[in-house]
């Protein structure tokens, strides 16, 4: 069922049954009470796997008899080692141990090649997905040997050796405790190059649990503004987001419907103003498409039939004309 499916970029289901599907693997995870014998508990997983058995038989698919598991407390599924009694999930421990060993060898050698390093770090990245805080250990290792041939030996910097040592030593910790409690507070952060702020506020257990279910699975970040964007922002001159998907229904867009501008955007588009201008237009397809969806498009500054060229900005008349347009604010984008 859709509400039981764990999938990338979807909220985690509320449970108690969870289903994962990856091409030929069908996985079911069932929460059970530790206070009652398993046989006495009515669980959804039995029903789901009995039904899937029937479905496979009807269409000529065969489930691998040696790999079939039902209600086991410890299993390795989809590259995750799950211990449902201890409540731990991690990359398979045997692989982590081997990876620690390989890393130790490289640390002891203090030399590596790009190909070996990429392979080792790539494997560690997989391990760290099960305890994302571990990513904070890695920094300089990503820049090692970037200008070298893939198989050329080069010495590692001390910082990178330290990072590898830390990965290796902390390898046993890269697991997730499924019984960890959710912090009953919400945290907010904001930062700029000159300062930062963190604040927190207590929330009820239900609310934090719901927020946790919707947590972004890859971590979330806001890009630090730099250069012209930063200057404009600090002067209170943020540009208006005109092309965000939230205001455009793609189906309507393709059918030629008029773009639904934000209220602010519509107000700003006065009779003498233009929504956009295309420089270096060539055949001006971009202008035509934007005009077709109702935007007020500047006709452009034509030097010849080919349109304005990049080099034409060296021409004083062209430059001044464009500078005037920018200074008057008559063209938004």
């Amino acid at each position: 069922m859709d509400h039981e499916l764990i999938a990338y970029r979807h909220p985690i289901p509320r449970g108690p049954f969870y289903e994962l599907l990856t091409i030929d693997d069908h996985i079911g995870l069932q929460k059970i009470s530790s206070l009652l014998p398993l046989a006495e508990q009515l669980t959804r997983d039995k029903e789901v796997f009995a039904n899937s058995d029937m479905a496979y038989q009807q269409v000529g698919l065969t489930s691998h008899p040696g790999k079939r598991q039902l209600q086991v407390p410890q299993a390795t599924v989809l590259g995750a080692e799950v211990d449902g009694v201890e409540g731990c999930v991690s990359a398979p421990r045997c692989r982590v141990a081997m990876l620690m060993f390989v890393t130790a060898v490289v640390v002891q050698r203090q030399h590596t090649t790009r190909r070996i390093l990429q392979s080792i770090i790539g494997t560690w990245v997989y391990v760290l997905l099960f305890r994302r805080a571990g990513f904070s250990i890695l920094e300089s290792i990503f820049y090692e040997g970037v200008d070298r041939h893939m198989d050329e030996i080069f010495p590692l910097t001390r910082q990178s050796i330290n990072e590898l040592i830390n990965l290796m030593i902390l390898g046993p910790l890269f697991q997730t405790d499924l019984r960890a409690k959710i912090c009953p507070e919400i945290f907010m952060m904001d930062a700029s190059p000159s300062g930062g702020a963190v604040c927190r506020h207590p929330l009820g257990p239900t609310a934090v649990e719901e927020i946790w279910r919707h947590t972004d699975q890859r971590g979330y970040y806001t890009q630090l503004q730099t250069g012209a964007n930063l200057v404009l922002h600090e002067l209170g001159l943020d540009h208006i987001e005109m092309f965000g998907t939230s205001n455009i229904d793609l189906a309507d867009f393709s059918a030629g419907a008029v773009l639904n501008l934000t209220a602010a955007g519509a107000d700003d588009a006065g009779p003498a103003g233009f929504d956009c201008i295309e420089l270096f237009a060539g055949q001006a397809n971009w202008s035509r498409c934007h005009a077709e969806v109702g935007l007020h498009v500047h006709p452009g500054i034509e030097r010849d039939a080919e349109g304005i060229r990049f080099g034409d900005l060296n021409d004083k008349k062209t430059f001044l004309e464009l500078a005037y347009l920018a200074a008057t604010g008559k063209v938004k984008e």
Binding site: I27, L29, Q30, V82, C88, F101, Q175
Partner: protein, 372 residues
């Protein structure tokens, strides 16, 4: 064992302290051995002990346990041992730690300790060791004897050997009733539905067929016996669109066969819908258990899933393998038609091919809808 775990915990604490203190050259007194521990620090030590305890409870490592990662890790080990042994600074403690680790998992002979479990059946002295890993008894590497380059054996693509490709099931599964997305439904039957205009095709090198003729003929025989072999005349397929093949490691005994349609894939729109329902295992970390709850797992793994798909003639022809055969070489196959005598022919895989740009979407969508 307890002593080893205690050492492991010490190293973990040292490492976490060092990171938390901003990587200092020398520790403050409060982080040195013998300093007073707060209640919070005691709690933290208990948690760390629990994690380390769980890690050390892992069963002994065997090649089978490592699955597909085994070959990759073995090659990494071999290549890493070939790197320089120049010591610019001493790692006495690290060496001790290495000894602890290697005593448990060591597949590398006496130099790094003995395998104490007796069940440690990884053998890196197998074929991969060969000419890249020196004997454990040789002198340590000296800077002047270093090789300039150390290649890492390729575990991604390998030559195809018919005996290493497991193929027991024929194409029995018709996915069409389960392809609910009209684009995928249509493209499954007629792959050219997703073809891009020729003016936008990128230039690609032609994919290699990493298989000897005799091996491909053996494979074709297997497919033919299962009703999954098709033949097509060479002049009915664009030469640059005939596909390559290679193998990737599955386990010690078997490989996966991968079709490499790099040219055709680059000439088709990519399309994903149900592919977005794929679930990486790390998402399980987001589940939560209450103190009185446990978690049990159930799983099914479909046998040779891709090889059980019935495909249309058009899709089979998309899998024409770029090695031309005289009709006389393959006229014994059941799928051979007498009208092809005297012609050059390609062998086609008459089922869903791993490597087909739409294969994951087709497989995921049909399996998903089947279980609804």
């Amino acid at each position: 064992m307890l002593e080893t775990r205690a050492h492991c915990l010490q190293y973990v604490v040292v490492s976490l302290n060092w990171l938390n203190l901003g990587c200092p050259i020398s520790p403050p007194p409060s982080a040195c051995v013998g300093s007073h521990l707060s209640d919070g620090q005691h709690d933290m030590l208990e948690r760390l002990e629990g994690l380390i305890h769980h890690f050390w409870k892992a069963p002994d490592i065997s090649f089978d346990e490592l699955g597909r990662a085994a070959e990759k890790l073995a090659n990494l080990c071999n290549a890493s041992f070939d790197l320089s042994a120049v010591s610019e600074f001493d790692h006495q403690d690290l060496q001790n730690f290495l000894d602890v680790v290697s005593t448990k998992v060591d597949p590398y002979g006496p130099k790094y300790g003995k395998c104490v479990s007796g069940s440690c059946d990884i053998s890196c002295s197998s074929e991969h060791k060969g000419d890249t890993v020196p004997s454990p008894d040789v002198e340590p590497w000296q800077p002047e004897t270093l090789p300039a380059r150390v290649p890492l054996a390729n575990t991604v693509s390998k030559e195809v050997f018919a005996d290493r490709i497991k193929w027991k099931l024929g194409p029995l599964f018709d996915p069409l009733p389960f392809l609910s997305d009209p684009v995928v439904h249509s493209a499954f039957k007629r792959p050219d539905v997703l073809r891009t205009p020729e003016s936008g095709w990128p230039r690609m090198a032609r994919a290699q067929v990493r298989c000897k003729r005799s091996e491909l003929l053996q494979l074709a025989q297997k497919w033919d016996d299962l009703g999954a072999c098709r033949l097509v005349t060479c002049d009915s397929v664009r030469r640059d669109e005939a596909v390559g093949i290679f193998a990737i490691n599955k386990d010690q005994q078997y490989d996966h066969l991968i079709v490499n349609p790099i040219d055709i894939n680059s000439r088709q729109f990519s399309y994903t819908n149900f592919t977005k329902t794929l679930a990486p295992g790390a998402l399980i970390c987001l589940l939560r258990l209450e103190d009185h709850e446990n978690l049990v797992s159930s799983s099914d793994d479909l046998c040779e899933f891709y090889y059980t798909f019935k495909v249309s003639e058009d899709r089979a022809v998309r899998n024409a393998i770029g090695m031309a055969f005289d009709s006389s070489e393959i006229c014994h196959l059941k799928c051979f038609d007498s009208k092809w005598h005297g012609q050059k022919l390609y062998i086609c895989l008459g089922m869903l091919a791993m490597g087909d740009g739409l294969a994951v979407e087709i497989a995921q969508q049909s399996h998903f809808n089947l279980l609804q």
